[in-house]
Symmetry: C2
Subunit: 194 residues, 2 copies
C-alpha cells in the first residue's frame, strides 16, 4: 500500500529530529522513522540529507523572524518588541521545542567538518538575524529611546551573544526558575539599554 506524504509536515518532523540530535548524529533511518517516508521519497522530495537540513534551518529562521516581526508591530516601542521577542521566542517558553536551545545556535556550534553549503546557509541566516536586531536598535536610537551615539551593530552583536549564552545555560540547567530569571534579566536589560 502506498502512502502519500506531506512534504511540509515531513520537514517539520525532520527539523525536530535534527534539533534534538544534531546533524551528524541523525541518520536517514532516524529520519525515515520520524517522517514515515521511505528513502526514495525523502530523496525525491529533498535531494539529500544536507539539503533537508538546510531547509529545516531556513524554516526555523523564517518562523523566528516572522514571530519577531509580529511582536514588533504590536509593541509600544522597538525595544519593547525586542524584549517581548526574547521572552516569547526562547525555547523554554515554547512547549513544542524539542530542546531549550535555539536551533541555529546549536547548529552553529556543532557544524564543523565538511559540508560548506551548511556552514554558508547558517552564516547567512545568522547574519540576517543580526541585521534585523541592528535595525531595531537603530529604530530605537532614531526614536530617542537610546542615546544618539549608541552603536546599533554593537548592541545587536551583544544581544546575539547574550541569547546564545542563555541557550547554553538553558541546556544545562534543570531548574526552570533559574532560566526564567536569566530571561527576565536579559529582557530588562534590553528594555532599558543605555
Amino acid at each position: 500500500m502506498n502512502v502519500s506524504h506531506d512534504k511540509d509536515v515531513a520537514l517539520d518532523q525532520a527539523l525536530d529530529l535534527f534539533w534534538k540530535q544534531g546533524y551528524a548524529s541523525t541518520s536517514l533511518k532516524d529520519l525515515e522513522r520520524a517522517t514515515g517516508m521511505h528513502p526514495g521519497s525523502l530523496y525525491a522530495a529533498f535531494g539529500s540529507k544536507a539539503k533537508l537540513y538546510c531547509l529545516s534551518l531556513e524554516r526555523y529562521a523564517t518562523r523566528l523572524s516572522a514571530l519577531r516581526a509580529e511582536l514588533q508591530v504590536q509593541a509600544a516601542s522597538p525595544l519593547d518588541g525586542l524584549a517581548d521577542f526574547i521572552a516569547k521566542a526562547h525555547p523554554l517558553s515554547d512547549a513544542d521545542a524539542p530542546l531549550p536551545v535555539c536551533y541555529l545556535v546549536k547548529a552553529t556550534l556543532e557544524t564543523s567538518k565538511g559540508n560548506q553549503a551548511i556552514e554558508d546557509k547558517l552564516s547567512d541566516l545568522l547574519t540576517q538575524n543580526d541585521a534585523t536586531f541592528a535595525a531595531v536598535f537603530q529604530q530605537a536610537i532614531d526614536a530617542g529611546d537610546l542615546p544618539a551615539n549608541s552603536d546599533a551593530k554593537k548592541l545587536a552583536r551583544q544581544l546575539s551573544a547574550d541569547l546564545a549564552g542563555l541557550c547554553f545555560y538553558a541546556l544545562r540547567e534543570t531548574d526552570a526558575a533559574v532560566i526564567k530569571e536569566m530571561v527576565t534579566d536579559l529582557t530588562d536589560q534590553v528594555r532599558r539599554r543605555h
Copy 2:
C-alpha cells in the same frame, strides 16, 4: 616496524581533533591519522572512542582550571584574577587552540544522542567550573569588592552564560578586533561588578 606511542601526546592530538570536528564527526580513521596509532593500540590505551573523548574533555577542563588558579594567585584581587583568566583563556588569545570556542561549550551544544557517560562527564566538569566561579565571587564579596548582598551563584551563572555567548560569536565573527572588544567589555564588567 613497530612504533612506540606516547599516550599523553596522542590524547592531546585527539583533543584537538574532537575540538575541531566534534565527537560524532570524528571517526577512528581520523584519530588514527592524527595520533599515528593503529586501532588496536588506541583501544588498548583508551578503551573506546567515548572514553577517549571523556578523557580529552577532562584534560581540557583540568588545564583551564589550572590556568585560572595560577592567574588567581598572581592577581591583585579575586575579580582581577577572573578578568585576567577570561582575557587569557579565551581561545582567541590562545594560538594553539583549533577553534575560537571553548571546547566544553562546543561539546555541550553538540552532545545529545545516546552516550549518557559523555553527558554526565560534561555536566560534572561544567558544574565544577561554575562552582569555582562562584567561589571566586564569594571571595570578592567577603573582601568587600562586591556588595555584601550579592549572589555569588547568580554571578557565576551569568559569567558562564556570557562566556558561552562569547564563544558562539567568536566562531562566527572573522574580525578579531570585534571579538577583542567583546572580551574587553566582559572583563571590564567582571572587574567592576555591582
